[in-house]
Symmetry: C2
Subunit: 197 residues, 2 copies
């Protein structure tokens, strides 16, 4: 791994646990085992590092999601459902420490830094776009109701998921994923079948 | 206002903007205009202050919600819908700074402090219980489908709302409330009418 990636990877781990604001430069340098000069060769300052860190987190989530989006054995809706399950299982494995880096940074830095806010918005927008594209396929294939407004549904699912992650973090339990999974996929998105009278 | 309430009120404002971890004792004392000895008369330490602060936040949210829960001119479902609208409007008024103190502290302190986690869980559990009681009334009055599992629905609505607040904070826009409102009240909770064929 090149030095820049090593710094970003080491920083990502610490920031995910402690937040960005409380993570000191010295800590990052120590974890990545690089001298200060090396840090400033790759990053203008801590803010620049933070902005590039968001890209690192976003790439990680994107690559993870792609594993499922590209799995042709799954239906469009099954792909989406599996991505949330994957995230919940990763979170469980880490004993519900950390959580979604994009969500955490949104609450932590949303008020503090306009550049962070802009960047985090771009990441959410990209996630939504990709989710919406697969929801649209699900709609074309008749997996979900035609009456659903895909753009709003994608917004709603992603923000609900951020809330579910928050609940998992504080309860140290997978329950919020199970509730999210049932409510979204077995009720909210479900085609409304004709009621037999 | 007594001294203790003044310290809590001044602290609440700062913590809501900056988070608990980054709020210094000196800052709180200055904002409340009290000497340090006075702080230690009412609070064992900063942690104790933080735990009592959660109660202050919880009371504020509870009192706000009660205004609607106790409004006999509204149906059970209308009461619930109005509470989220009230919160969204308060958030808009503050230019989407701060947000839900309980949600913010959950993400900030969830990993750091087990006592905070326990206390925040109690607050969420109480909110859910009150929401569930009114959802049950809505179900009895035929406003929402009989097939809904009230406990899970209350969990889902509250965690979705936390996610919506996060989106509002980062987009500085009320849109996530509008989406939440339509998705939850006009689709998710809606009685499924027989489809005419």
């Amino acid at each position: 791994m090149d030095t820049k990636s090593r710094i970003l990877k080491a920083g990502a781990k610490i920031v995910l646990q402690k937040g960005f604001y409380d993570t000191g430069l010295t800590e990052i340098l120590k974890a990545a085992d690089v001298p200060k000069g090396s840090f400033y060769f790759y990053f203008k300052n801590k803010e620049d590092f933070g902005l590039q860190l968001i890209d690192t987190f976003a790439d990680y989530l994107k690559n993870g999601a792609d594993t499922f989006y590209e799995d042709q054995s799954l239906s469009p809706l099954a792909k989406i459902r599996r991505i949330f399950k994957w995230q919940a299982e990763s979170f469980l494995k880490s004993d519900f420490k950390g959580g979604c880096p994009i969500g955490n940074l949104s609450l932590e830095m949303g008020d503090r830094n306009a550049l962070f806010r802009k960047k985090l918005n771009t990441v959410f927008a990209d996630m939504k776009k990709r989710l919406a594209a697969h929801l649209e396929q699900a709609q074309h294939q008749g997996e979900i109701a035609d009456s659903l407004n895909i753009a709003e549904v994608a917004d709603f699912i992603l923000s609900s998921w951020q809330g579910a992650l928050m609940q998992m973090k504080i309860t140290k339990s997978i329950t919020a994923h199970q509730v999210f999974d049932r409510m979204i996929f077995e009720r909210f998105l479900k085609r409304q079948d004709p009621v037999r009278t």
